[in-house]
Amino acid sequence: MPTPRNYFVRLGACAAALLVLLALSPGVGTEAAAFGWWDTWRAALNLAIEPAELLHRPGADLNGDGTISQGELAGFTAAAKSIFRRRLPRTLLALQVGVTLALCGAVFQVLFRNSLATPYTLGIASGGSLGALVAIRWGWTASVLGMSCVSAAAFAGGLAVVGAVFALARGSRRLTSNEMLLAGVTMGLFCSALMMLVTVISTEREVFEIVRWMMGSLDPALPLSGAAMLPLVLPAWVLLVFSARALNQYRLGDELAAARGVSVPQLQGVCVLLCTLATAGVTAHCGPIGFVGLVVPHMAALLFGSDCRMLLPASALLGGVFLILCDWGAQCIMGLAGWALERQLASATLPIGVVTALVGVPLFLLLLRTRRR
């Protein structure tokens, strides 16, 4: 049960971990560079770097004369700055995606009263993938409202499938009913069939592209793609965390919650709308990154208990931590693999979806073994 003290201590610890990762993140990447995270921050914030500090850095003393000239210092600073500008936005993107998916996953698990629910339960991932595939197959490349055409199509596809699921299950009127889940699964299968159909008339190149898209990627397609998501994800973060107390009542059942003064249809409607917009936005930009939305809420519940007041913000913060760490893993593993295999690999980073599952499964099983009473 959250008391003010354990609430702020635990969430503060999660937030601190997130901040540390953010601070360190410009120092982690695929390029084997001579820059520490501290150098990149100093370069980005235009703080002075002493030439003497750079003497023993590989690559800083370009002409090998044992001193760092002004020119060499300027070159080092410029390179550090460009690294910073490439890596920090990527980490911020990972943060947004992780927070959103984990928070929406936690909310969906409460909302559907089903511990297997994920942000994709209503079919956003399959609808988004179909949209992306269509955009790739027919070569739509224009950008729409700051989004690439593939992203816009994926966003529209995700929303369309959720709309179709609600239209199909409208007769039941209950979110927790089997009709709703069945409609979600059915629409997912339908989208998969359509995707196979489109795949048959696509080139190998296009098929490869869509398969890569579905593995998820944090390489921003457009420089501003992270910022474009904010209007979708920020309202969801704030409002969902604030509905925690009502969601606690909702867990007791529709009738008991209603008798305690919660408007159940309103709560369900607002939560589904917010989660759908945020998840569709994230998926449109980064592909359907799996596992975060399923496992992080369970981790948060095992660590801190399942009271929504704690569960929702903790899931959000841990989701950010988890995805940033996975992204580091994705970038470093390929470097190690290339070094071990002694050849250049086709891709510099592992698809993020592969890492979330590879890291998440063992971590989750470990938690399950050690914490379950």
């Binding site: 049960m1 959250p2 003010p4 007791l252 209603a258 008798a259 305690r260 003064g261 919660v262 399942s306």
Partner: protein
């Protein structure tokens, strides 16, 4: 004279697409009264209870709480006055007993994330009154059905209502646990002016634990009033279609036990 706590005046109700299932029903529930709501399956007991709780709106007629229309009250205000325990309660929650009971404080806090000292004090006393304090820190899902039922009862008491509505509070319990819940309701829980309305199927256990009984049949009030006058062998036979005999122990001639005549009467 004070207005009754809850007054139903010619209340009718029908679910969408179905014929009218209830009404017209008129009844007045006063503070401190303990009502038993009995009747055959499908008589409309649960529907009537939900109309009293404000979870359903009457098609015709009026439900008034302290002489104010119930439907006009804000949801939270209504929840501060009326607590409702549905028949199917969640038993498999990860939350501890104390946390479940504290959830009952929801209508009393519009702002603020954390429980106040007063919330904790109210929850503590609710757990004490329902004998759930000994396992206050165990997870709800480790309790037996009877214990969990009392925990939900404690949560309803933590809501500090004037009226407590219960839908078959003893349905899935064995005799010992049934009596424990009923004795709590009649004994320690009543007494401070709390009125209760409990739906039940047991025409025998309702009498000793109720001040009033409402007998529903086909959505209408067959009889209402003192238990002894409502639950006579004649009304029970008319409503349930079962011939019954009234038995009484010598010690309490004012109490009687209704048993089926075919099994307990003269062999044919």
């Amino acid at each position: 004279m004070n207005p009754p706590l809850l007054a139903l005046c010619d209340v009718c109700f029908g679910y969408p697409g179905a014929r009218q299932v209830l009404g017209p029903v008129s009844v007045e529930i006063g503070a401190g009264q303990a009502w038993g709501l009995v009747g055959p399956n499908g008589a409309g007991k649960s529907t009537l209870l939900r109309l009293m709780a404000g979870l359903l709106r009457p098609a015709r007629g009026a439900v008034r709480l302290d002489d104010q229309p119930l439907g006009a009250l804000p949801r939270r205000t209504r929840a501060q006055r009326i607590a409702f325990l549905p028949q199917h309660l969640p038993y498999d929650l990860d939350l501890s007993v104390r946390e479940v009971v504290l959830l009952g404080r929801f209508p009393h806090r519009s702002l603020g994330v954390f429980e106040s000292a007063e919330d904790h004090q109210v929850a503590e006393s609710a757990m004490e009154r329902t004998d759930t304090l000994p396992f206050a820190d165990r997870p709800l899902r480790t309790l037996s059905g009877g214990e969990a039922q009392r925990v939900h009862l404690a949560a309803a008491l933590a809501q500090e209502p004037s009226l407590l509505l219960l839908d078959e509070p003893t349905a899935s319990l064995d005799l010992g646990h049934q009596l424990a819940v009923l004795r709590l309701l009649r004994g320690r829980i009543a007494g401070d002016g709390l009125a209760t309305v409990a739906v039940t199927h047991d025409v025998n256990l309702v009498a000793p634990f109720s001040t009033h009984v409402l007998l529903l049949h086909h959505g209408r009030v067959e009889a209402a009033g003192e238990p002894r006058q409502v639950l006579t062998p004649e009304t029970v036979e008319r409503v349930y279609g079962v011939a019954v005999l009234a038995l009484s122990s010598g010690a309490r001639p004012d109490r009687r036990w209704l048993v089926p005549a075919a099994e307990f009467g003269e062999p044919a």
